[in-house]
Symmetry: C2
Subunit: 333 residues, 2 copies
C-alpha cells in the first residue's frame, strides 16, 4: 500500500482526532481510505501556575492576564512530531500531503483556527492551526470532534449514500454532528450544533451546561448508568445494564425503556427540525444495535411531523467506530 | 414610482403570500421595496365530493383514487387573474417581471413546485408552480410561508444586517423559519424546520401534531389564551391578557410568566442548535415588545450553552408585519 502511494505520489490528507483520552493521527487517501494511523495518549496535564506573563493557550479569562498554564504547546508539539514520524515511517513526503484536518472536543472557531474552549482537554483560546503549522507547513483546518465524526460517517461510513446526516454520539455526554449537503453545518456564530443541550423535560435532571432537562442529561451513557444506579443501587456499565435487562431484570428493563423513550423524543425533535436522510447513533451505546434501533424507528414513524406521509429518515448505527473522527477531520481539507 | 419603473423598465419580482385568511400579492423591486400590493380573501371552500376521477389537488391519499375536491384550481386561477390585473394597473409589462415566488402555509416540495399538504387551505398534492404558470409565464418558486416571512425579514426587515436568522411566528401555531447564509434552510427531505414541534415538556399538553409537550402547545397565541382561560375562566385575547396582567391581575401575571419561560426554553434550544445572529419573533404576540423581549434575552444570556462567553444572538421583534411574506416570497426568485 505504502509503495503504491510512493509510486503514484497520490495526494494524502492528514486527519487528527484529539480525544479526551487518546489522540489519533491518520493518513487518508482520496478514496477516504485510512492508509495508516498512530495513536498517542492525550496529555492534558494539570493546570500549572506560571505567573502573569502566561503563554499561548493558558489564559483563564480571555481578557485577564494569564495565570494558569495548560500544556497546549507541549501537546501540540507532540502531535506535530508524531505526525512527522508517521509520514516518515510511511514514506510519504510533505509535498504529497495536501493538508491537515483536526477534530477537537470543544468549541471551535473554524475560520480563525482557534480552539475557544475545551473542558475535556483544558484548553482555552488556543490557536491550534497556527501552532501546529510550525510543525506541518500545510493548510490546516479545525472543527469540533462530534462534527468530524459525523462528517467521517457521511463520507466513508454508514452515511456515505447520504448528503444530509445527523449523528448523535452517546458517550459521557451527547455530542451532535450535523452534515448538510455533505458539509458540516456551522453557523456564523461560534458554538451551535449542541443537539445534546436541547431541553426535553422541563425542570428535569440537572445538566452540565447549567440548564435542567437537556437531552444529554437523559441520553448519555452516564445518564443511563445513573438511572440504573437509582433503580438497583448497583454501579453497572451500559453493557451490563443491557445484559441484565436481557436476562429479565425488570427494574433495568424499565430503565432501558425510559432511556430509549427519551432518546426517541430528542431524535424526533431533531428530525422535525432538520429532516435529514439519516440519523446515526455512535459512541459507547451504539453497540446495542437493534435493541435500540427498533423502538427508536417506531417512535420516528409515529412521532414525526406529518407522520408516515412525510419523508422519514433511517436510523442506523455508525459504522466507523473510532476511525470516524480521523476520516472526517481529513475531509475538512 | 410606477412611472419610474416604466421608464427604466427595472426588473420586478412578484411575491405572493397565501395565508389562511387572506392572500397578498406584491410587486417587489431589486431593492426589496414593495412597489404595489393587492389583497384578496383566500377561498378554500368546503371539500366537495366529485367521485373517483378526481382532479388536480383533490386526492385524500397520495395513492388512493381522488374522492374529495378542494378548489385549488379555482383559487390559483383567482390568484393568477388578480396578479395580471395588478401588473396592468401598475403598468408593468410581463417581460419586466423576472419571476414569481409564493409562500404557502403547509409542507412544500420546493424542487417540484408542489404543495404536498396544507391543513390551513385544504390542499394536498397541488402542483402550484405549474398551475400558476398557466397564468404567469415566468419562473415560479414556492416555499413554506413561515420560511418566506423569515426570508423577508432577513432581506428587508429586522434581520437585514444578518445572514443567519431564525424567526418564530407566534400565532395560531408556532411557525419556524430558518435562514442560513441568507437562504432558507431546507433539508433534502420534505418538511423540516418545524421548530414549533420540538417537545420541551415530556408528556405535556397535547399538540396538533399528535405528540405531547411541543413548543407550539405552549408558545402559540392559542396556548396563551388556553392558559388564561384555565386560570381565570375568561376568554381573553392576547392583548387583553397582557393588559389585565399589566393592571395587576396576579393570575394572568403568572400565566404570562409561565408562557415566557417556556417560549424561552424553546428559544434557548434553538440557539444551542443554530447559534443564529438573530432570533426574530413575529405574529400576533410580537405586539407585546419589551415585555416579552427582556425576560427572553435574560434567559438566552443565562441558559445558552457556553453562557455569556459564547456568541449570543439578539432577540428582536420582526418589523415588516404582514409584508414579510410577500417580500420573502419575491426573494425566492
Amino acid at each position: 500500500m505504502v509503495t503504491t502511494i510512493r509510486e503514484k505520489a497520490a495526494p494524502v490528507r492528514i486527519g487528527i482526532d484529539i480525544g479526551g483520552t487518546n489522540t489519533r493521527i491518520g493518513l487518508v487517501d482520496v478514496h477516504q481510505k485510512l492508509l495508516a494511523e498512530a495513536v498517542m495518549p492525550t496529555v492534558t496535564g494539570e493546570p500549572k501556575e506560571i505567573g502573569a506573563a502566561g503563554g499561548i493557550g493558558c489564559s483563564e479569562g480571555t481578557d485577564a492576564p494569564a495565570s494558569v498554564k495548560y500544556p497546549a504547546e507541549a501537546m501540540i508539539g507532540e502531535i506535530g512530531r508524531k505526525t512527522l514520524a508517521l509520514l516518515e515511517e510511511q514514506g510519504i513526503a510533505m509535498d504529497q500531503c495536501v493538508g491537515v484536518g483536526i477534530g477537537v472536543p470543544g468549541t471551535v472557531d473554524r475560520k480563525q483556527g482557534i480552539v475557544r474552549y475545551s473542558n475535556n482537554i483544558r484548553w482555552k483560546q488556543v490557536p491550534l492551526a497556527s501552532m501546529l503549522g510550525e510543525y506541518l507547513p500545510l493548510p490546516i483546518q479545525i472543527a469540533n470532534d462530534a462534527d468530524c465524526a459525523a462528517l467521517g460517517e457521511a463520507v466513508a461510513g454508514a452515511g456515505r449514500e447520504c448528503q444530509d446526516v445527523v449523528m448523535l454520539t452517546l458517550g459521557t455526554g451527547v455530542g451532535g454532528g450535523i452534515i448538510l449537503d455533505g458539509e458540516i453545518y456551522e453557523s456564523k456564530g461560534i458554538g451551535g450544533s449542541e443537539l445534546g443541550h436541547m431541553v426535553i423535560v422541563e425542570d428535569g435532571e440537572p445538566c452540565t451546561c447549567g440548564r435542567r432537562g437537556c437531552l444529554e442529561a437523559y441520553a448519555s451513557a452516564a445518564a443511563l448508568q445513573r438511572a440504573a444506579r437509582r433503580a438497583t443501587g448497583k454501579d453497572l456499565s451500559p453493557e451490563e445494564i443491557f445484559a441484565e435487562a436481557g436476562r429479565g431484570d425488570e427494574k433495568l428493563e424499565a430503565v432501558i425503556a425510559q432511556y430509549i423513550r427519551r432518546l426517541g423524543v430528542g431524535i424526533v425533535n431533531i428530525v422535525n427540525i432538520f429532516r435529514p436522510q439519516l440519523v446515526l447513533l455512535g459512541g459507547e451505546l451504539s453497540a446495542q444495535g437493534e435493541e435500540l434501533l427498533e423502538p427508536l424507528q417506531k417512535m420516528v414513524r409515529e412521532g414525526c411531523f406529518g407522520g408516515i406521509d412525510g419523508e422519514l429518515p433511517e436510523i442506523e448505527m455508525a459504522s466507523l467506530g473510532n476511525k470516524a473522527g480521523m476520516i472526517g477531520a481529513a475531509s475538512l481539507i
